[in-house]
Each structure stands twice: as structure tokens, then as C-alpha cells.
């Protein structure tokens, strides 16, 4: 409990000095690393995007055999266990292991995010497929379509809005996750933040945090809009 005033002092130390008389000079001093930081943030977004897309593709492929209405029970329970495993191992632990295997950098972080995303989205997609009506699938089967064709033309068009909406939601989450991966050396803005915290560069900490917050808020806003459009077009 002795620590709480210390934490207060620490946070107070990160508040930049912005004076009204030379506001822009102070702002420029505070945001001295702006270009570097924005580039790192762009990398972070890229990690989140590529991770979401690759993880989403794997999730989509695994979600059909994981839907109880579409596949035999033993396949469903096996795939579900696999998905559970993928989403229960913490992303950061995956990142640590992948950094060791693939070397430092954004690629390891992206893989960690992709694995976790595949596990989380696979389950949600499968539930979405389970809610789809089977009549269209039977129509495709009656026309001689294979199992893959039945999924592609009978089920997928029905669950597409849900799939897109969950995918966008996951992207929002992944942006947050990607912002910390740098702590274990897996790319993005986290590394710079870690450095700032380690070297007690108080003002840099607040500057980077403000930029992360702004990015997260912008992505949330954008994804929220897109999600409403996707779900709106389904109704």
C-alpha cells in the first residue's frame, strides 16, 4: 500500500508541460519522436491486420467441421478441442515461443496473433454456421454438390454477415494485443514503449500512450461503423 503515492508521483511525472504561450513548441518537444512512433504504430496495425486475416482464414476452414449441424460428432469435438487449445494459450506465451523459433520481429508476433485469432474466431464462426438454415445446403446437395460445395454455396452465404462482423471485432481486439507484443520482441510499438518505461523517459511514455489510445479509438470507431453496415445489409 506504500506504493500507491509512488504510483501517483510516477503518473504525475509523465504529464507533459504544455504552456499556453508556446503551446506548439511544447507539443513538438513532447512528441519529438512522432514520425518514428507513427511508423511503429503502422507496423502494429499491420501485425494486427495480417494476423486477423490469416487467423480468420484458418478459422473459417476449421469452423465448418466444428459446427455440430454440419459434421459428424467425433470430428466436431476433435476440432473444437483444437480451437480451444489455440485460444487458451496466452498470445504472449505464443509470441515468446515464436520469437525463439522464427527470430525477433513482427513475423513472430503476427503468427501468435493469428493462432489465437483462429481459435477464438473458429468457435464463433461455427456457432454462426449452426444458426444457418439447412434447407439451402440440402438444395445444393440435391443438385449434386460435394460437401465443400454445400458449405460454400449453402451455408457460407447465410453466415457471411456474422463472420465479417466477428472478424472486425477481432481486429479491434488484435490492435490492442499487437500494441504489447513488442515487450517480448515481437514487433510493433510495444518495444519503444518498453524502452521508454525502462529508461524512465516519463514524457515519452505518455506521448506513446496517447498515440496508442488515439489509434485504438480510431480503429474502434471505424470498425464500429463497418460492422453496423455489414449487419445492416443482412437485415
Amino acid at each position: 500500500m506504500r506504493g500507491i503515492p509512488l504510483a501517483g508521483d510516477y503518473i504525475a511525472g509523465t504529464i507533459p508541460r504544455l504552456r499556453f504561450e508556446h503551446f506548439f513548441a511544447d507539443l513538438a518537444y513532447w512528441m519529438w519522436g512522432f514520425t518514428d512512433w507513427v511508423l511503429l504504430l503502422a507496423d502494429t496495425l499491420l501485425i494486427a491486420y495480417v494476423g486477423t486475416v490469416l487467423g480468420g482464414v484458418v478459422a473459417l476452414l476449421l469452423s465448418f467441421p466444428a459446427a455440430a449441424t454440419l459434421a459428424p460428432p467425433w470430428v466436431v469435438s476433435f476440432i473444437r478441442r483444437v480451437l480451444e487449445f489455440m485460444r487458451t494459450v496466452p498470445t504472449l506465451v505464443l509470441a515468446l515461443i515464436f520469437v525463439y523459433a522464427f527470430g525477433l520481429g513482427a513475423f513472430a508476433g503476427m503468427l501468435a496473433i493469428a493462432v489465437h485469432t483462429a481459435g477464438a474466431l473458429g468457435k464463433l464462426f461455427a456457432e454462426e454456421h449452426e444458426n444457418a438454415s439447412l434447407a439451402q445446403m440440402e438444395a445444393v446437395r440435391a443438385a449434386g454438390g460435394s460437401w465443400a460445395a454445400q458449405m460454400r454455396f449453402g451455408i457460407f452465404p447465410q453466415s457471411l454477415p456474422g463472420v465479417l462482423s466477428y472478424g472486425l471485432l477481432r481486429f479491434e481486439i488484435n490492435v490492442r494485443e499487437a500494441s504489447v507484443l513488442g515487450i517480448v520482441g515481437a514487433g510493433g510499438i510495444g518495444e519503444e514503449l518498453y524502452l521508454a518505461v525502462r529508461q524512465f523517459e516519463y514524457q515519452d511514455i505518455s506521448a506513446i500512450l496517447v498515440l496508442i489510445l488515439a489509434t485504438v479509438a480510431a480503429i474502434d470507431l471505424l470498425c464500429g461503423r463497418l460492422r453496423r453496415r455489414v449487419l445492416g445489409s443482412a437485415a
Binding site: 506504493g3 500507491i4 486475416v53 487458451t88
Partner: protein, 257 residues
């Protein structure tokens, strides 16, 4: 019609280009992927059989520490979030400006990941589980306050009015008219938070904020992959147990209300 037909392939093309550009930027050459996968297969082979490395009691103790951090972090978050939620709920406090600024505060707390808070608190209050508890609590305060105040706003106002009509003051009318209505929803959200904290608390040790994460990061650093596998399995077992208990409790709450 023409526009939307042209727009879809354009959007897809752009997204695909972004994907390829991203992979290129991450230096995802086939050679690197192949080497990495080889190394990964080798690691998985080294992970078998998982072993406690002769320090099982210590590992269980630090797992318990993670669990305790998750629990205390959740309690702290609830204690702080409850008054903040009342400030942010439109039907409790009429002031629009206050409500707006409190809600932005929630967003700010929520927007920063637990692990970043952990970094900051480790630097501020020193290494150890106390930093972890604070790091878990702070973003949860944002999430819970938001969820609580939304629950409060959707509550039925007639019960509040009934309590007021019986002569109660404002505080009592919130306590007796509003809180009982939303308590089941709140409890269920608190349980969700506990589940999520149980997951997060296992990695906080990587930055020195207490719990099993420190042991895990250490084993990875010194390449004891059988012990890494053991610790990961311990974490999975704990998360599954917490999820199970919390699901049972939640079902009970839902049935009771």
C-alpha cells in the same frame, strides 16, 4: 448498382495487396518460414514429456499467486467501478458534462492493455504481485464502469420512484430501487472479468508483475522446453477450472433472477 459491382473487387484487391505488403514487410520469406517451422517442430519434440523440473510446489505456489492476483484485481476493480458507474449513468446523475467526461475516462482506462499498465506499475511501485493487481484492476475499472452504467441505465425507473415515494432520499433510492434490479447482471459481468483476469494474470510475470509468468519466461530463456510445456499445461488447467466454476455460478445467478 454499377458502382457496388466495381467497388467489391477494388476493396478486395486493396485488402489483398495490404496482406501481401504486410507479409513482405514482416520479412516472411519461404526460407524463414521453413527454418522457423523446423525449429518449432524441434521445440515441440523437446517439450515431450512435460516435466515439473522438481519444483512442482513452487510452480503451484506461483500459479496460486496468479489466481490471487486475478481475484484481488477483480475485487479492487469492482470497488472502484461501482461509484464511477453511478457517476456515468444518466438516470442517476443528471449532469451531461460530468457523464460525458466520466465516460471518456472509462474509454481511456480500457484502451490501454493490462500488460502496458503492468509495465508502468512495475516501474512505479516495484516488481511483484502488487503491481500485477493494480495492472489488472485499472483497465477492468474502465470496462466494468461502462458495463455497469449501461446496465443501470436500462433499469426500470418505476421501482426507483416507488422507493422515493415512500420517503427515501436519493442515496437510498439508488441503493434500494436501482441496485437490486441490476445486481444479477453485474454479478455475471464480474464473473466474466474474473475469468479474463485469470487468463491475463498468467502472463503478467513476464514483465515482473508477479505470478506464474515469471517462471514461464525464465524457462523459455534457458531453453527448458519440457518445463515450459508443463507450465503451459498448468495454466490451461487453471483457466479451464476457473471457466467451469464461473459458468456454474453464472447459470445459478441467471436461474435465480
Amino acid at each position: 448498382m454499377m458502382k457496388s459491382r466495381l467497388a467489391t473487387p477494388l476493396v478486395f484487391g486493396f485488402l489483398l495487396l495490404l496482406l501481401i505488403g504486410g507479409l513482405w514487410r514482416m520479412d516472411a520469406s519461404p526460407e524463414r518460414i521453413f527454418n522457423g517451422l523446423t525449429k518449432l517442430g524441434w521445440l515441440v519434440a523437446l517439450m515431450w514429456p512435460p516435466s515439473a523440473g522438481g519444483v512442482l510446489p513452487e510452480l503451484l505456489l506461483s500459479l496460486l499467486e496468479s489466481l490471487a492476483m486475478a481475484f484481488l484485481g477483480t475485487v479492487l476493480a469492482v470497488v472502484v467501478a461501482l461509484p464511477l458507474a453511478l457517476l456515468g449513468a444518466g438516470n442517476v446523475i443528471g449532469n451531461v458534462l460530468l457523464r460525458f467526461s466520466v465516460r471518456r475516462l472509462y474509454d481511456g482506462l480500457r484502451g490501454i492493455d493490462t500488460l502496458i499498465w503492468a509495465l508502468i506499475f512495475v516501474a512505479a511501485v516495484g516488481m511483484g504481485p502488487f503491481a500485477g493487481i493494480l495492472a489488472l484492476a485499472v483497465p477492468d475499472i474502465g470496462t466494468l464502469s461502462k458495463l455497469f452504467s449501461e446496465a443501470l441505465e436500462s433499469a426500470d425507473r418505476r421501482q426507483v420512484e416507488a422507493v422515493r415515494a415512500a420517503g427515501a432520499n436519493r442515496v437510498l433510492s439508488v441503493r434500494l430501487g436501482l441496485i437490486p434490479q441490476v445486481a444479477p447482471v453485474m454479478l455475471s459481468q464480474i464473473l466474466y472479468t474474473l475469468e479474463s483476469n485469470a487468463r491475463s494474470s498468467t502472463v503478467l510475470g513476464i514483465v515482473g508483475a508477479g505470478g506464474i509468468g515469471l517462471a514461464l519466461a525464465d524457462r523459455i530463456r534457458i531453453n527448458n522446453w519440457d518445463e515450459v510445456a508443463f507450465i503451459v499445461l498448468l495454466i490451461l488447467a487453471m483457466v479451464a477450472a476457473i471457466d467451469f466454476v464461473s459458468r456454474r455460478l453464472r447459470l445459478k445467478i441467471i436461474r435465480a433472477s
